[in-house]
Symmetry: C2
Subunit: 352 residues, 2 copies
């Protein structure tokens, strides 16, 4: 029973579950001699990042300079990979200041970004480590071929202020063999041209328990595993009991056919991730959230009576946990059902 | 040409366009003797709310107590309708404190909510005005029938601390005749039972230029009209030149087939509103944003060459403006293309 004093809508984080998720995946990585570099985008909480590091993570991953700044300012972070093309003098100069405080590495998939980084770091005390981002099939960022990866690696190694630091990919889910082949080929090409490839960084929660099959990777980045969510349960990566983030909501209106809860797209987001409906209520599996507006969620029953009354509270596992973390300034911390505090979501809304 | 100093992704607000939108709709309401009570959920900015009031709005609409608190704390607001079932002692007691500072009215669609409000206001100096929310077909909140509206109106009028203040609906789009019939019938029933119906409040941007045809309504609530967005352009409610909110983004990666911009679902949101793709670039109508992840937007061409290079900036009209406002702590203020300042989004993230 969640404390009645917790007003809704609220994001609840069960620390026991989150910490168990962190330990379990660290164990897996240790067993398979993979370095774990968790992505903080899911929790955006310095406290949980520190727990990840204490369990053995080699560093953290951020997506934007501002996320890295927020984490470094609020927690004890010594090693941050920003897995994004950092472009523009303003961002590069902030990156430089951050790199003077902690170990920062970044990625690039093109020479324009690499040149910009070089200009910003040409007179730095230490070169900036830059990994080449590889498009191994997810069709987002990344150089298109292993040959292009090798070319860019050599360009980076030759640029003042930069050090080539390895390869990085956000791979397509379920395509371990082709991703491994791509990365191995790029690695071998680069070595044959006289450079070392210190790190090969792959990632993604959907394939997290198959990370060791990506034999080319030396490091794995994973974010959602800390909380899990409906999308990962539906993909059978975890179970409902492993979901550490839930949205607590209250029924504010009931009609014959539906009920309205006080959690809409401002709490659950519109992310569908290929699913139907907007989250799942493990305690009431017959319920289905069929419609969201900004402050309203509409709940119907898919099986049997709706059986909801005004004031009832529902604890919802969202489709996608990371985007929910980005909507709330604070989250409520639990251990089991016990309320143990609140945490400010330090890296929320960091888009730059 | 937007100032290069504005880093991306950024939410740009063209104040000239926003103010023109506000004046145009105020003129329409004045002509048709409708009271205008704009919903601040779209801009969440005290400054624009003050402009709306200065042009003749009778007050503002908020959806949550916390939104009303943020607006009253940061701006000159004297009259606020919170168009939501306020439930629970914590929220009702905050509502009471707010009602001691400015004129607050709320809605209820059930007796549980009405009883809770009554308990909180029984010993207040002034009764709390409560409108009955009516489900006129949108199937969200609201009493189901005109007879139920009349029953709840009489209950509210009889409860200590409350005053029955009228009817409120968020109507289904495009069904003016049936909504008018519903509201008229409820009004006449209530009058026949001895109560006055001071206000009939309807709303919604899609039907905003037909508001005068809803002859039963005395007041209209509209939010999105201040900025407009792709969904309203596609419904032919406005044109691209009327869109005051745009998301400025930068191309950070280019492949043969697509480009990646630094605006993903953390900037544009996943709201589709029945549309394909994630926003529209009026300056480059051949471009189509076919995929979002949190920090990446993927851009393809639907017609002709992609013709984008790294560092190019795109100004995107999002599918849904209101939810974009909720993601950014600050927005950039423009007049035309001239950069005139920044504004803190005071009512962002207010969910309670």
């Amino acid at each position: 029973m969640i404390a009645a004093a917790i007003d809704t809508p609220a994001v609840l984080i069960d620390l026991d579950t989150a910490e168990a998720n962190i330990r379990a995946y660290q164990r897996y990585c240790d067993e398979h001699r993979l370095k774990l570099r968790p992505h903080i985008k899911t929790h955006k909480l310095p406290g949980l990042a520190e727990y990840q590091l204490a369990q053995g993570a080699v560093g953290i991953t951020c997506q934007k300079v501002s996320e890295a700044e927020a984490m470094v300012n609020a927690g004890r972070m010594q090693d941050v990979l920003i897995a994004y093309n950092i472009l523009g003098e303003a961002k590069v100069s902030r990156l430089r200041r951050l790199a003077e405080r902690v170990n920062i590495s970044v990625v690039a998939d093109n020479i324009v970004v690499a040149n910009g980084l070089s200009q910003g770091f040409a007179d730095a005390d230490r070169p900036l480590p830059v990994l080449v981002e590889c498009n191994t099939g997810a069709e987002r960022c990344g150089v298109p071929t292993p040959a292009a990866a090798a070319d860019l690696a050599l360009d980076i190694a030759a640029l003042p202020g930069l050090a080539f630091a390895g390869l990085m990919t956000y791979p397509p889910a379920g395509q371990t063999a082709s991703v491994t082949a791509w990365l191995s080929q790029a690695r071998d090409l680069i070595i044959s041209r006289g450079l070392e490839v210190p790190v090969i960084s792959s990632g993604g929660s959907p394939d997290m328990w198959h990370a060791h099959e990506k034999s080319a990777a030396t490091e794995y980045r994973v974010g959602t595993y800390v909380y899990n969510d409906r999308s990962l349960v539906e993909r059978k990566v975890c179970g409902w009991q492993d979901c550490a983030l839930t949205v607590l909501s209250t029924v504010v209106s009931v009609s014959g056919k539906h009920a309205i809860i006080d959690a809409g797209s401002k709490a659950l987001t519109s992310d569908l991730f290929g699913l139907e409906g907007h989250g799942f209520v493990p305690d009431r599996p017959n319920l289905f959230i069929d419609l969201l507006s900004e402050e309203h969620g509409r709940v119907v029953s898919r099986d049997g009576a709706l059986d909801l009354k005004i004031g009832d509270r529902l604890r919802i596992v969202p489709n996608h946990a990371c985007v929910v973390s980005n909507l709330f300034d604070t989250v409520v911390l639990l251990r089991g059902d016990r309320h143990v505090g609140e945490a400010r979501v330090a890296a929320r809304g960091q888009v730059w």
